[in-house]
Amino acid sequence: MTTLLEAPALLEATALLEATDLVRSHREGETVTTVLDGVSLTVNRGEFVAVMGPSGSGKSTLLHCVSGVDQPTSGTVRLAGVDLDGLDDDGRTRLRGERLGFVFQDPHLLEALTVLDNILLPSALQADGGGDQLRTRALELMEVTGLAGLAERGVNEISGGQKQRASLCRALLGHPDLLFGDEPTAALNSAASAEVVELLQHFNAEGMTMVVVTHDARVAARATRVLFLADGRVVDEHRLDHGTDAAAREQQVRLAMAALGV
């Protein structure tokens, strides 16, 4: 595979994301539900952190809070050197556009645009000129992710797996500091899921820092670290030894999941 990511000093052990004592609660009438209850998380450059846990454990909420999509009720998030608390809504939106990449469970591609335009959209918005280079790079990413020849297709003309790979290209095109994935394989069949998993690991190997929420042990097995959440708290954490093969790591994750009842 071609190396497309150009992040400098990838393996410096500097903290890219620092979240401290995050609490996220919702009030409905008199009832207050606490979804995150004092979670702290640090992600260094080049890391691939998988977040696991049963439904309702607060995985997605944690991801939304640390990526600036949602705001914690209390606690602080420092992302790529920027304190999210000091940013307003538009400031956080700009930060997401300029510094972060997202892959969701649903690829959320816009039907009004072709596959290529969907991939180009966020990066072209943030760019100031250099559109042609972006386009070239997007086509290269499509090549790498097996989407060659689909650039001019409509979103409804490609498969679910292809859509998710397109959304991965979209997330990576702008050289984000950090890629967030929210159940990126949950809606895919096993073949498509395996392709996406391969790609995630590939880009992480190229230096892309990732935080991925998942139920899938195969995805987590590609991570460098796995965090387990239950009832809004971090209840366990495992570093995976990439010296062992993928099957062994997957086994390690499954054992941890079983121990926690996930």
Binding site: S60, T61, H64, V69, D70, D89, D90, T93, R94, R96, G97, E98, F102, F104, Q105, D106, H108, L110, E111, A112, L113, T114, L116, D117, L120, L121, P122, A124, L125, Q126, A127, D128, G129, G130, G131, D132, L134, R135, A151, E152, R153, G154, V155, E157, R170, D182
Partner: protein
């Protein structure tokens, strides 16, 4: 359960619910009013004209009358059941004053009359034939309303041996002359007072030779026979159907306008319903999905929404109908006052009820139609928040190319327009219609006001006019005026026209009277609908009505019969005319002898900046007693009512149009936002700020609005022509091009675009990340 859901839904969309019900109230009230007015008019006009014994045929004539020949002619026509020579003693308006205010500026010719004996009765508002006492005077409703006259006030007639003061005893209903479109008005006095004025002024009355037949339809053949026999006809002729039109015109126009307005409001309501219904369906998708998944049948889900609209629209219909019933008093007051009675009030209300029922069924039928969309919603997709209501099988085109920055936002907006073409087309059509509604009425105002307009009506483009009617010294007085103004620097042109009634023979051998205005037609040129103005003494142009009456067209030849001689004249043009009953003609030089009393008209053009009032005083100083009319007054008196109605209509239309533009823009942006919640959430997650999203909606709404406005400006032209034909036709004018006012057009368009932009801007400002998390989870 349905009731609870309906109540909740009404409360949730309170503003739109109130608006929709309001539209329905208005539409129902207008439909009911229009139908009640129509039913009231249909019978009342005929009944009133029967009550007043309105003549079936009327020939006006000024000058000597051979009564024996007239009686002999009538004896040969058994269809005549009654006839009467009704006298109208025309007096100069300057000799009349109401409560001390002279009637100088009045355009209507005013005459004194006594109550006829067999027909054309002047009726009190209670329907009685009025018999005025000596010293009493009755005024027509037209003057009563125009000059705010009341019982006990005075009308003074200036006579050579002192003024005659008459006390107003009331207002009468005149089935012949009450309309503003009739050029004369009569005042009803006692026989004694009539005789006093006649002998004091020494004038001969005008003859209103009136006839009633076994059937009003016999007026046509009778008129032909009358002219063929060469009977007196120095004046216009009118018939029963013309009186009928004139008597019902104002109310008929009102009923027509109400119907048109109701139609427009129903259209707007339908658009609003479409937007709100689709928005509601999108918003309630989750609930609909759950209901469907739990086994609630589609029919039941539909009935929840249908019930809501039936309640809303039904309530609106009933309230609108009742409102019209409550307000019917003032609406029908005009009919009642002029016609005496209102025909079948119960029938009117019934017709209104049927009209409202039809309206209700049409609108609820439309709701059912929109509700068919529900069939396309699959339960599972609905639960996941996807309606499938906006789908496009069209393959998207690449739009971004190498563009970056803000250009990306605009290109994305254009891609969205392409994707949901139908939705944006609705906005284009809306903007187009609104622009037409905004521009056309204003163009009418500009057209009426343009100095050119009167030239379509048989009136030259002059500033002052002196009418010298039925006086022996008409031409000498005309010459005096011309001489007085010859060297006046304030005057640029003076022309004296000699108005003569000639006898002509048509190509098919018929002999008929024809009024010819002799003078230089090039001095104050008229618009000719066909051909041109005469340029040699052997040429003549005819008013359209005269051309029709004589059966001639451009290129034909008519003969002027003069003391045994025949002078051929070639018809070189025809023009529209509203003066003298529409029956005039123009030629360059006239014969010097005429058997009829002389009439003349002096028309004067002023140099820029000259004061018409001062020039008028100069004329009156030179020839005391003449009446000088200013052209602006002339037009405003003749068309003033129509102009003010059009002005009011134009402003009303523009306010309503802009409000609707804003409303529809707001509703459609709301629908788009609801339908595109997921796409907007995604864009926000990917770095699109509120300003980016807002810019997309602005581009989409403005691109479609601007396109619609441009199309509207183009469409306003043919639509204006059609409406102009209908409206100007009521005053006998055709072929008028609407005046295009660039300023009004540009301003109107800008206001539409600006209001739409403002609404779009303000409704896309907040909550870009509201529900973002929920949207991203699906």
């Amino acid at each position: 359960m349905i009731r609870t859901l309906v109540r909740k839904s009404l409360a949730k969309h309170r503003l739109v619910s109130v608006l929709l019900a309001g539209f329905m109230v208005l539409a129902a009230a207008l439909v009911t009013s229009a139908l009640m007015l129509t039913v009231a008019l249909i019978g009342s006009v005929d009944r009133f004209m029967e009550q007043a014994h309105t003549p079936h045929y009327l020939q006006m004539h000024t000058g000597p009358l051979d009564r024996a020949r007239l009686e002999a002619f009538v004896r040969q026509h058994p269809e005549v059941v009654a006839h009467e020579d009704i006298a109208l003693l025309n007096v100069e308006n300057s000799t009349l004053s109401f409560n001390g205010t002279p009637l100088d500026g009045e355009m209507q010719q005013t005459g004194l009359a006594v109550q006829p004996t067999t027909m054309d009765f002047l009726l009190s508002e209670a329907g009685e034939v009025i018999r005025p006492q000596r010293g009493e005077i009755w005024v027509p409703q037209y003057y009563r309303d125009k000059y705010d006259l009341g019982v006990g006030q005075t009308v003074t007639v200036a006579l050579p041996d002192g003024p005659l003061e008459l006390t107003i005893a009331g207002a009468f209903r005149d089935s012949q002359m009450n309309s503003a479109l009739a050029s004369s008005k009569r005042l009803l006095v006692s026989d004694d007072d009539y005789a006093t004025v006649r002998s004091a002024l020494g004038v001969e009355p005008e003859h209103l030779l009136s006839f009633r037949f076994t059937d009003p339809g016999q007026a046509g053949p009778f008129e032909a026979a009358w002219h063929a026999a060469g009977l007196e006809a120095n004046g216009p002729s009118l018939n029963w159907s013309m009186f009928r039109v004139v008597n019902s015109l104002n109310d008929a126009i009102t009923a027509f306008l109400f119907t048109v307005m109701a139609f427009v409001i129903v259209l707007i309501a339908a658009l609003c319903i479409r937007y709100t219904l689709l928005t509601t369906l999108e918003e309630d998708l989750g609930d609909i999905g759950v209901m469907r998944a739990l086994g609630v049948r589609q029919r039941h889900v539909r009935s929840i929404y249908l019930t809501k609209y039936q309640v809303l629209l039904g309530a609106g219909s009933v309230v609108g109908f009742l409102l019209a019933l409550v307000l019917r008093g003032p609406l029908l007051a005009g009919v009642r006052r002029q016609m005496g009675t209102v025909n079948a009030p119960v029938m009117g209300a019934l017709a209104g009820a049927v009209g409202v029922l039809v309206l209700h069924l049409v609108v609820t039928g439309y709701v059912r139609r929109v509700m068919r969309n529900l069939r396309r919603i699959a339960p599972l997709e609905a639960m996941r928040g996807r309606s499938g209501l906006v789908t496009s099988r069209r393959r998207p085109r690449p739009v971004l190319g190498g563009r970056t920055g803000m250009a990306v936002v605009s290109r994305l907006a254009l891609a969205n327009i392409r994707r949901s073409r139908g939705q944006h087309l609705t906005l284009v059509v809306m903007a187009m219609l609104i622009t037409v509604v905004l521009l056309v009425p204003f163009r009418f105002g500009s057209t009426f006001r343009s100095p050119d307009f009167v030239t379509h009506m048989g009136i030259g483009n002059y500033d002052l006019m002196v009418g010298l009617l039925n006086r022996d010294d008409a031409l000498p007085v005309g010459s005096t005026i011309r001489a007085t103004l010859a060297d006046d620097p304030r005057v640029s042109r003076v022309e004296v026209f000699s108005l003569e009634v000639e006898t002509v023979r048509t190509p098919d051998g018929r002999v008929a009277p024809l009024r010819i205005d002799y003078g230089d037609p090039a001095a104050f040129p008229l618009r000719h609908s066909q051909g041109r103005a005469p340029s040699t003494p052997s040429e003549i142009s005819l008013s359209t009505l005269n051309a029709e009456r004589l059966g001639v067209t451009v290129g034909d030849e008519i003969l002027i019969l003069d003391d045994g001689g025949e002078a051929p004249m070639t018809v070189v043009g025809t023009y529209q005319d509203i003066t003298n009953g529409g029956k005039t003609s123009k030629a360059m030089v006239g014969p010097t002898t005429s058997s009829t009393p002389g009439s003349a008209m002096v028309t004067i053009a002023l140099t820029p900046g000259a004061d018409p009032g001062e020039v008028s005083r100069t004329i009156i100083d030179a020839v005391p007693g003449v009446q000088v009319l200013e052209a602006t007054n002339f037009v405003s008196q003749m068309l003033g009512g129509l102009i003010s109605v059009m002005d009011a209509l134009a402003w009303l239309c523009s306010v309503v149009a802009v409000a609707i533009a804003a409303l529809i823009a707001g509703l459609s942006v709301r629908l788009m936002q609801v339908q595109e919640r997921a796409a907007n959430a995604l864009q926000t997650a990917l770095g699109f700020t509120t300003a980016h999203l807002r810019r997309q909606y602005l581009v989409r709404v403005l691109a479609t609005t601007v396109l619609g406005v441009v199309l509207g400006v183009v469409l306003a032209w043919p639509v204006g022509m059609v409406v102009a034909g209908a409206i100007f036709g009521t005053v006998g004018v055709s072929g008028v091009g609407l005046v295009f006012s660039p300023l009004t057009t540009v301003l109107g368009c800008l206001i539409v675009v600006a209001s739409v932009a403002l609404v779009t801007w303000s409704s896309t400002g907040r909550g870009s990340t509201r529900g973002l998390v929920d949207r991203l989870r699906t």
